[in-house]
Structure formats: structure tokens, C-alpha cells
Symmetry: C2
Subunit: 283 residues, 2 copies
């Protein structure tokens, strides 16, 4: 093999989530990935809608790119019936979009606590109810719902599902090909029960998506955009990748880093760095 | 009883951690608490050292104040032998200070990951080792070491012990009167295993300290100073207080809020608000 082929082979499982290259349009992302021999991307609903769902699907196909996941559905915790109905409608639209993009994985972020609500257990139960309401619709379209636990610092305002154990407690109420979980190193690295959760998820065939980002401090105001480039932080990324592999996962390794410092740089340079860091710290 | 006596009775278990009133000197804190009929405080090492440990002990005694805890020892995760030895020396000094203040409780914050370290399990084990090294010294002086799990958002830079379960896993290696745990609502509110942890801690006689603060967002940069006044956030404070009571805890309810907006206000006004919020949301 030539060194280019070697490099491409190294990157066979790498998927680049588009939020990592937020400075790029969808065509720039498709061209940039194709140029480096990267064959998979994770997409987000808003930029895909803006570009046009069918047009985005064609663009990815033209560049030989597989869409490994669509982010994101969810936000299921409203107790108001009208808000709940609107959320379910929006999630059905997300399922349709995932199907149109040819991805079998719709990532779900549960939603936080409604204003004034102090009952997080009840909010988690509403998440499970909403997923139950969506499963038949998603299954008919070949889309698996992937529950993503977010770091506990997001529990009040973004995602009441904070651990892999909680995500599995919900997922396991449904068939494994209909509801899975997302294993994201950024959200789970601190948890001494993550190992057991990954093994449990693997045994049940529940790992729908594996995402990597590093943990760095200090956290910025609002904490959403503080994710670190692979290798810049304290997460044992290779350890996580090995664990999901040992649990039987054979899917993509999706790099999802929300970081304004990366967004401020040249996209091609950042993507090349991501590929290098992936080889050095994850592969 | 007069209404003043009623009010004082209501506040019988209330302890005010001095970081809640950081704008106050130790004499201002002592006088302010005494004026409201508050009989307990939690103190911090640095301001106590600055004022003089013996002098602080006398000041509290003169105002009829019990010191319910001293914050804080810990920072045990260094892998460098010289740093580790320095940390143990500093913790022995903290134990002496706690004994001099007449409190049986030294709160321990474990410390984060050393620079470049990605092995959080090993860091937690170093915490347990250090506690083992300190237990005889503390026990001789009648001081119980109280392991405080901090919210997982502090796991890398401040405290590798993130859950009550992890704190108990370490504490239970020692006698209950020598090593206990801190139950702090701010750090534990998101965890669906906190209930089980509180019950387990109660059965083992391990609840050394109960602290309350509310969870509010957005988190500020660095996330340390984002705690909310009681009732301003999403934590079921009364639910927690009921749980620790049902687990057999009979000690103080210590209000510890790090919040620059409170520090910018008149101390007496803030303390009065704390007492009102305590009655409304905790009692």
C-alpha cells in the first residue's frame, strides 16, 4: 500500500462530527473529509435543514461519505401537554431527516428541568415515556433512537440523563435495534461506573454511537463550549475506545468537539490535526 | 415562647459556613450569627489562620458558637513523593486546627488529577492511601475526616471523588468515628444513586456533615462560584434534609454558598435571607 492508502486505512473508523468544523459549510466539510480519506461524518439538524435535507444527502453520497449519526432529537422533559406534543412532532421530523440522510442513528439529548421544577426523577420518566411514543415511528423508518447521557453539569438545563447507567435503564425498556445509547468520552470519563455501563451496553447490543472529545479546564461560562481537542486533556481516550471495542462495538469513532478556538482556525488545518490526534490518542 | 425564641428554635440546626458571608470578618460573622440566634458556624482554614486559631476559637466560644466543620484538608492526589509528603504535613496541621477550634469534623476535598495524568482510578487510590496515613493522627485528636464528593465537573482539577458511593467506598475502609462523608446537595442533587448513598451512609454512621446550596445556571467561567441561594435553583433541598434525617443524621445543616452576588451585598441582609430561605426550603 502507498502511505496515502495506509493513512486512509488508519482513518477507516473515523467520523467527523460537523460541529467540530463549525466554520465549514456542508460542501466544505464533504470536500475536506474526502480530501483526507475520511469516509464518515456526523451531522446536525439545523445546518442540514438550512442546506436542504435531500441536497445534503446527495452531497454526502457524491463524496463517498456515510452519515454515522444525526444530532439531535430529544428535549422531552416538558410537563406542559402542548409543549410535549410539539416536542414529539419535532422528533418525528428528526427521524424523517435521519432516514433521508441514510443514517440509522438519531442522537437524543433528553432535555433539562422545566422552570421551577425540582423533580428530576419525574423528568427522567417523561423522557422514557416520550421515547416510547416515538419508537414505532422510528422503527418503521429504520432509525434507532440513541440516548445520550450528558455530563451531570448539564442536568438542570440540557439533559436529565447523566450517566450511562441511567441511559441504559431507559433504553432497555425497548428492543436493542430500536433504542440504543451514545458513549461519549467527554460526558462519561469521570464515572467509575462507566466501565460497567459500557460492558452492559455491549452485551445488550446497545452501543449506537461512540463519540470522543477531551476534558480540559477551566470550563468556560455556560460550560457548553469547553471541549478539548483529542490529547489536550485528561481523558484516557484509547482506554475508552478499547473498552467499546471489547464490548463488541464495531461502528464509527465520531469526533465531536465544541470549541471556539478550533472554529477560529483554518478548517483543513483543524481536520488534519483531528486526524493526527485520532491516530495518536484513540486508534 | 416569644417569637424570637420560636425563631431561634427554628434555627437550632442551622450552621452558617463562613464562605457564604465572605464579606464578613470573623468577628462580624460571630456577632451577626449571635444577633440572629444562630448557634453554629463552619469555618475555613485561611481566614482562621489569618485571625489566629486560638483567638478564633475564643471568639466563637464568647459568642456561644459551635464550630460544626473546618474546611478543608485534602488535595491528596500528587504522585510526586515530596508533594505527597507536603500534603500530609499540611493535613496534620489542619487536624490540629480543627481540634483547637473544638470541631470534630475536618472536611476533605481529594484533589484533582496531576498535570498530564489520565488515570483517575489510580488518583482515587492515592486519596485512600493518604487518608489511611492520616487516620491515626486525626483519631488521637478527636477529629473525624469527612470525605466530600464534589460535583463531577470538578473531577479533573479539584476532586477526583465525585459521588457519595465513591466517598463511601473509601470511608468504609476505616472506622466510622474516624472517617465519614459530607453530603452536599450542590454536588449530589443530579445523582439518582444519592438516595441509596445517603441510606448507606446513615446505616454505617458515616454522615459527618450535611451542607446545602442550590443549583443554578448558567454556570460561571471556572464554575466554582456558581452556587445558588437556597430556593433559587432546582434542588429539592427539603427532600435531601428529610433523607439525611431518615438516615439517622442529627447534626447541623450547614449553608455553604459560594456566590459573588451574595458577597457584594450587606452581610446582615444576606444572613437574614439565608435564615428565611432555610426555614422556607430546608426545615
Amino acid at each position: 500500500m502507498t502511505s496515502t492508502q495506509d493513512a486512509a486505512h488508519d482513518l477507516a473508523r473515523l467520523s467527523v462530527n460537523q460541529e467540530t468544523l463549525k466554520q465549514w459549510s456542508l460542501p466544505e466539510l464533504a470536500e475536506g473529509c474526502a480530501a483526507l480519506g475520511i469516509t464518515s461524518v456526523g451531522l446536525w439538524r439545523a445546518p442540514v435543514q438550512e442546506y436542504g435535507v435531500q441536497r445534503a444527502a446527495a452531497l454526502m453520497g457524491d463524496h463517498g461519505l456515510t452519515v454515522t449519526s444525526l444530532c439531535r432529537g430529544g428535549f422531552f422533559t416538558a410537563s406542559d401537554p402542548a409543549e410535549r406534543a410539539a416536542s414529539l412532532d419535532d422528533n418525528r421530523a428528526a427521524i424523517d431527516e435521519a432516514a433521508a440522510l441514510g443514517t440509522g442513528t438519531l442522537v437524543l439529548v433528553s432535555g433539562g428541568l422545566p422552570e421551577g421544577d425540582r423533580d428530576i426523577a419525574a423528568a427522567r420518566e417523561r423522557v422514557a415515556d416520550a421515547i416510547g411514543a416515538l419508537v414505532p415511528y422510528a422503527a418503521e423508518r429504520g432509525v434507532r433512537l440513541a440516548i445520550e447521557p450528558l455530563h451531570p453539569m448539564f442536568a438542570s438545563d440540557r439533559c436529565v440523563v447523566s450517566t450511562l447507567g441511567q441511559a441504559l435503564d431507559i433504553a432497555e425498556r425497548f428492543a436493542p435495534d430500536q433504542v440504543g445509547v451514545v458513549v461519549d468520552t467527554y460526558h462519561l470519563w469521570w464515572d467509575d461506573r462507566a466501565d460497567a455501563g459500557i460492558a452492559r451496553a455491549g452485551e445488550g447490543g446497545r452501543i449506537a454511537c461512540f463519540q470522543v472529545a477531551d476534558w480540559v479546564t477551566p470550563l468556560p461560562e455556560g460550560v457548553l463550549l469547553g471541549r478539548g481537542q483529542l490529547g489536550d486533556g485528561c481523558v484516557d481516550l484509547r482506554g475508552f475506545r478499547t473498552q467499546v471495542d471489547e464490548a463488541g462495538y464495531r461502528g464509527a469513532v465520531e469526533v465531536e468537539i465544541f470549541n471556539p478556538a478550533l472554529w477560529a482556525r483554518n478548517g483543513a488545518e483543524v481536520l488534519s490535526e483531528v486526524a493526527d490526534r485520532y491516530r495518536k490518542h484513540v486508534l
